[in-house]
Subunit: 314 residues, 2 copies
């Protein structure tokens, strides 16, 4: 028994004839090790959890794909948990998973307080959190990315640009909004009324845009805090018979594949989603395996991709 364990884990001294015999026996008996028993004695399940706020947002799909890929390579299983933006559900997941000896979490949500997260006592990586000293974080350069978008709109002739921002209190939403403000706050047409609230989902954004267009029909540029809301804005334009990009130019944020499925295709500030996911997974595994991290707060570069909602396509 002990010898078999040694063979399977390639640990300790085993004679190579014995190794051979063990493998033959495994073959003969169709033996497969029992992961649960292993987890119990090792106090580790070789499993990590990716916690996302909204599984229907393609951003998190792509993230999941990337995380999955890396973890699988290192022999870990990933489990995907969807919280629907509910802190209660999130706590429930964490609780349940800790009872299953989960090895670590990647938190793509931003609902739990930093304090609460600090107290978890499990290896953890956070996405889109502002600088944490205790927990590794990954995000794109939100403020800079927002500036890229707004600058492009200005250069391409927009004279009144609105912003659909993400939820109040969410760090990335604040940052992107700040980036917008950096460039437009001092322009004479600017008024805080040009900033409307969204919840990163399509529907609410559409409603907000509809409302503001009644008051400001001369808006000719829209910068949305994410792609889903940008698509919501595009929909509103199309329903109103306003031509995009001739009368209004739109830029989103994220770079999800969905942006290429609408027509005209969505211009966007593309985050390196896949890389962010892979990086998160690698860092988490490093942390789990107690290797030193060289850096705590990773800031990724964005790329402005101009497509049909800002440029005329042939």
């Amino acid at each position: 028994m002990a010898t078999v364990s040694r063979v399977l884990n390639q640990k300790g001294y085993v004679h190579k004839d014995t190794v051979q015999k063990v493998h033959e026996a495994i073959e003969m008996l169709q033996y497969t090790p029992n992961d649960i028993a292993r987890s119990l004695s090792k106090k580790s399940s070789k499993t990590i959890a990716l916690i996302v706020p909204d599984i229907t947002n393609p951003f998190f799909n792509e993230l999941a794909l990337a995380v999955e890929k890396v973890t699988q390579m290192y022999g870990y299983t990933t489990i995907l948990c969807n919280t629907n933006d509910s802190p209660a559900v999130e706590r429930q997941y964490i609780q349940t998973l800790k009872q299953k000896y989960i090895d670590g979490f990647i938190m793509a949500t931003n609902t739990l307080s930093s304090n609460e997260i600090d107290q978890l006592q499990v290896p953890l990586v956070a996405l889109d959190r502002s600088n944490f000293q205790t927990v590794p974080t990954i995000s794109s350069k939100n403020r800079e990315g927002a500036r890229l978008a707004v600058q492009a709109l200005l250069q391409q002739g927009c004279t009144k640009i609105m912003h659909i921002r993400g939820p109040k209190g969410l760090w990335i939403a604040e940052e992107r909004c700040q980036g917008y403000l950096d460039l437009v706050e001092d322009l004479d047409w600017f008024t805080p009324k040009l900033i409307v609230n969204g919840n990163f989902q399509l529907k609410e954004a559409s409603e907000a845009v509809n409302k503001i267009f009644d008051a400001h029909p001369d808006i000719d540029g829209i910068f949305a805090g994410n792609d889903l809301m940008a698509i919501g804005a595009l929909r509103v334009m199309q329903k109103r018979g306003i031509c995009v990009p001739d009368q209004v130019q739109i830029i989103g944020y994220d770079g999800i594949p969905l942006g290429e499925m609408v027509y005209p295709e969505l211009s966007t500030v593309a985050q390196p989603i896949y890389e962010m996911g892979m990086l998160a997974a690698r860092i988490l595994i490093k942390k789990i395996e107690q290797q030193p991290l060289e850096e705590m707060n990773h800031q990724m570069d964005n790329e402005l991709i101009q497509r049909g909602t800002t440029l005329h396509t042939s």
Copy 2:
């Protein structure tokens, strides 16, 4: 120890003062039971797996949401596995999860042979499989659904309707194609060339549609085997400057939320995705808990939803 177990599982005789004391102790010591140890001795993990071929397809997102909801209600955890249409990955998942005492599978994929599935020796429910005698299945009435779509196109004046079918060998793709054929095979404009192959994804469908439109520019109706491909077709029309629905009408199949995000909104044969997911989960749990099933092959009704790609909206 045994008494604590009895209290927590509400099983066997325990004096109620003792129950009280145990609860107090649990509170005091912040005790949480260890699920891994429990799994080991019970040979069950209270976990089921949902296996999907493509996590980026919103159809499977919605399905996952539904499954998750039901399983959670019954005290099970769901883990979502994305196979990317690879049978090897699927086998790998099944193997790994069986080693973790997974209680059951919901297979929304259709890549493994019936034979292979029969031999799994784990409770299992299959989606979109044709009648299995040994395994409960759930699907919508694909052939009938396809007929709904094609009939609507005919009634609304289409005189040459193409079909973008799903992958060869996939049961649902065959059925939907048959439904199309049922109505058009005997019409004088029909030719098998009007059926093109797609893989249920947007890109390949776009290319196929582009090609066929060069040969048959007089097509005025498109029935796609799923919504993603229908959106691909819509994109092609828009790029070619063909007006939808004036010159070409399009109907998809699935009823994913994405259909309402494009403009014009996509007409579709809507499957009751959420209900299908809930049903699958309920049946699986019944099977796991060894309750009798009243029915093996569930056929759900579809609803034709006409939106902007077939109707003029105000």
